[in-house]
C-alpha cells in the first residue's frame, strides 16, 4: 500500500508470552450461562457505582434522621398525637424519592451511557438481564429500607410508647393528660406494617420506577413520570372538593401512593374512628399489581425494541 518502505515496523512485534492459540489459559469452559451469572453481574454493577451508595445513604439518613427529629418533637408534647410508629412517615415521604430515583437510574443510566449495548452484546438474552436487575434492585432496596424503617420504629417505640393518647382521640377523656386512661402502644400488626410493609411498599415503588425507566429509557422522563404518579393523584384530589367531583377526589386520594404509604403507618388520609380497622396491605397489593403490569410491559418493550 502507500507506505511500502515502512519495513522496520512491518515486522510483527516480538511475540508476547502467549504466542498462539494453544497457549490460551486453560479454564473450565462453561457452555452456557444462566440467571445466576446475570444476578452476580447486576450486583457488581449496582454496588460499583457511587451514586447507588449515595442514594441509599441519603435515603437512610432521611428516614432515620427525620424519624429521630419527629420523635423528639412528638416527645415534647403532652400527648401522643400520632400512632406510635406513625412518625416514620415523614422521613419515608422523602426517602421514597431517593428510591424512585435509584430505580429509574438503574436502567436509564445504562441507556444514557451506552452501557446497554455492551451488556446486550455480552448477554443477548434481554429478559434475563431485566430479571436480574429487578431481583438485585428489589432485594437491595428492600433490605436497606427495612433497616431504616426498623431502626426508626425502634426509636419511636422507645421514645413514644406509653405516652397518653390525645383526648381528641377519645372524647370521654378530659383535657388533663393525667386522666387519660389509654396510653399509646404499637400493635404487632402496626409493627409489621411500619417495617416490612413499608419496606415492601417502597421497594415495589422502586421496582415500578425501574420498569418505567425501561419503558421510557430516559432519566428525566422516568423520574418525572414517577413523581407525577406519586404526587399528582393526591394534589389533584385537593382540587376536587366540590360536591360534584368529591367522589372522584376521594377515590384519587384514597388510592394515591402517598395514602398507600401513609396507611401502612396507620395514618390513612381518610380519618377513621376505629384505628383497628386501618390496614395497609390492600393498597400494598394494589401497588404490587401495578408494578407487575409495568414489568410485563417492560419485558415486552425490551425484547422487541432495537437497543
Amino acid at each position: 500500500m502507500s507506505t511500502p518502505y515502512a519495513a522496520p515496523q512491518a515486522a510483527p512485534a516480538a511475540p508476547g508470552p502467549h504466542g498462539g492459540v494453544d497457549h490460551r489459559p486453560a479454564r473450565p469452559v462453561e457452555q452456557s450461562t444462566h440467571l445466576g451469572h446475570a444476578i452476580a453481574s447486576e450486583w457488581t454493577k449496582i454496588r460499583s457505582v457511587r451514586s447507588t451508595i449515595w442514594t441509599l445513604a441519603v435515603m437512610f439518613a432521611l428516614v432515620v434522621g427525620i424519624g429521630l427529629l419527629t420523635a423528639l418533637a412528638l416527645e415534647s408534647g403532652p400527648y401522643a398525637e400520632l400512632p406510635v410508629l406513625g412518625g416514620g412517615l415523614f422521613g419515608m415521604m422523602l426517602g421514597q424519592l431517593a428510591i424512585i430515583t435509584l430505580g429509574v437510574l438503574t436502567v436509564t443510566s445504562e441507556y444514557s451511557t451506552g452501557m446497554i449495548r455492551t451488556t446486550m452484546t455480552v448477554c443477548p438474552k434481554r429478559t434475563r438481564v431485566l430479571t436480574a436487575k429487578a431481583i438485585v434492585f428489589f432485594a437491595l432496596t428492600f433490605v436497606m429500607t427495612l433497616a431504616a424503617t426498623s431502626l426508626t420504629a425502634l426509636i419511636h417505640s422507645a421514645m413514644l410508647e406509653g405516652k397518653p393518647l390525645s383526648p381528641y382521640h377519645d372524647l370521654n377523656v378530659g383535657a388533663d393528660p393525667s386522666q387519660a386512661v389509654e396510653t399509646a402502644t404499637a400493635t404487632s400488626q402496626q409493627w409489621l406494617q411500619a417495617t416490612v410493609g413499608v419496606s415492601l411498599f417502597v421497594a415495589l415503588l422502586g421496582l415500578l420506577s425501574l420498569a418505567v425507566g425501561t419503558l421510557l429509557r430516559s432519566t428525566p422522563g422516568g423520574v418525572t413520570t414517577m413523581l407525577g404518579l406519586v404526587l399528582l393523584p393526591f394534589l389533584i384530589s385537593l382540587f376536587l372538593m366540590t360536591e360534584s367531583t368529591r367522589e372522584l377526589g376521594d377515590a384519587l386520594r384514597e388510592y394515591s401512593m402517598l395514602n398507600g404509604l401513609s396507611t401502612l403507618y396507620h395514618m390513612p388520609f381518610e380519618f377513621t374512628e376505629d384505628a383497628s380497622q386501618v390496614n395497609g396491605w390492600p393498597l400494598l397489593g394494589l401497588l404490587a399489581a401495578v408494578t407487575a403490569a409495568a414489568l410485563i410491559a417492560a419485558y415486552a418493550r425490551i425484547s422487541t425494541r432495537d437497543v
Partner: protein, 306 residues
C-alpha cells in the same frame, strides 16, 4: 501566531504541562503530537483560556486570550466535536456564536455550506453523527474567518471524504498565511498535512522542527535499488565505499546516500536499474522512536490470551 512561554499546569501534584516554550508560526500547518496524557489537550485548553496556567504564559498574537475582544475573529478552535446543545439547530448554534462576536449573520449559512451541512442547517444536532458534529465544530472554528486556527483531532469521526476535505482545507488555510495548529494521533494523516511539528511528552517539549527534519533525525532513510545485475551492482557500490543490504525480494538497500549519486554511479558503469527509489521512514516510526519512554499506558505487545 501563538506564543507559549514556560507554560505550566499542575493538577495537585501531577504536572500536566511543564515549562512549555514554543511558537506556532503562521503560513504552515503545525502538527501537535504527543502520546496520550502528554498534555496536548491541557495545552490547547490553556491557549483558549479554558484552563488557567499554574505558571507561565500563552499569547495569541501577543495578547492573552481573555483580553481578546471578539476572540473568534482572531482564533477559531475545534476542541471537541459535540460541544453543542443537542436541541439547538446547527444554524442557531452558529448564530449564537456569531452574535457574541459581532460576526455578520450571512456568514452563518456560508460556513454551513462550506462544511457541507447546508442541507441539515435547520436540524437539531441531537441526531448528528460524530462526523457531522465534527463538521459543525469546524464550521464554528471558521466562523470569524480568524487568522489562527486550532484543531484537536479534526478527523475524528469523519469519513474518508471528510478526512480528505479537512486535510485540503487546512493546507489551504495555511497557504493563505494563517496559523494552523492541529493535534492528532493519526501519524499517517499528519504526515500528509503538517509541515512543521511540535512534539511533547509528559508535558515537556520533545521537538519543534519541520516534518522533514523530524523524520530524518528520528529514523533511518535509505535508497532502494533494483537491478538485473545485483552482483555487479554490489561491487560497484563497494568500490564507492557503500554497503548495500539485500532484501528478501531481491532489492538492495543503501543507507545514507542520495539517490542522485547512485543514479550517476549506475550510469557510469552502464548498469540497468529497475528501481531507484529514495525511502524514508514513516512519521509514525519516527514518532515512536522519539516518544518511546513518554508513553503512559503501555499495552502489552501481545493480544494473546485474547
Amino acid at each position: 501566531m501563538i506564543e507559549l512561554d514556560r507554560l505550566t499546569k499542575r493538577y495537585g501534584t501531577t504536572v500536566a504541562v511543564d515549562q512549555l516554550t514554543c511558537t506556532v508560526q503562521p503560513g504552515v500547518v503545525t502538527g501537535f503530537l504527543g502520546p496520550n496524557g502528554a498534555g496536548k489537550s491541557t495545552t490547547m485548553r490553556m491557549m483558549l483560556g479554558l484552563d488557567r496556567p499554574t505558571a507561565g504564559d500563552v499569547r495569541i498574537d501577543g495578547e492573552h486570550y481573555d483580553r481578546l475582544r471578539d476572540p473568534l475573529n482572531h482564533i477559531g478552535a475545534l476542541l471537541e466535536a459535540k460541544a453543542v446543545h443537542p436541541g439547538r439547530t446547527a444554524y442557531n448554534h452558529l448564530t449564537v456564536l456569531a452574535q457574541s462576536n459581532g460576526i455578520p449573520q450571512k456568514r452563518v449559512p456560508e460556513v454551513l455550506d462550506l462544511v457541507g451541512l447546508g442541507s441539515v442547517a435547520k436540524k437539531r444536532p441531537k441526531g448528528f453523527s460524530l462526523g457531522m458534529g465534527q463538521r459543525l465544530g469546524i464550521a464554528s472554528a471558521l466562523l470569524g474567518d480568524p487568522k489562527i486556527l486550532m484543531f484537536d483531532e479534526p478527523v475524528n469521526g469523519l469519513d474518508p471524504e471528510g478526512i480528505h476535505w479537512i486535510r485540503n482545507l487546512m493546507k489551504y488555510l495555511a497557504s493563505e498565511g494563517k496559523t494552523v495548529f492541529v493535534s492528532s494521533h493519526l501519524m499517517s494523516e499528519m504526515a500528509l498535512t503538517a509541515e512543521h511539528l511540535i512534539v511533547i511528552g509528559r508535558g515537556r517539549l520533545l521537538a519543534d522542527t519541520s516534518m522533514r527534519e523530524f523524520i530524518k533525525e528520528n529514523s533511518r532513510s535509505y535508497v532502494r535499488l533494483r537491478t538485473p545485475e545485483p552482483e555487479r551492482m554490489r561491487d560497484v557500490l563497494a568500490t564507492a565505499g557503500l554497503t548495500p543490504v539485500a532484501t528478501e525480494d531481491g532489492a538492495l538497500e543503501v543507507d545514507s546516500v542520495e539517490s542522485d549519486r547512485l543514479g550517476e554511479l549506475a550510469a557510469e558503469h552502464g548498469l540497468v536499474l529497475h528501481e531507484l527509489s529514495p525511502q524514508q521512514a514513516s512519521l509514525e516510526e519516527a514518532f515512536m522512536q522519539l516518544t518511546a519512554e513518554a508513553v503512559q499506558y503501555h499495552a502489552h505487545g501481545t493480544g494473546k490470551g485474547a
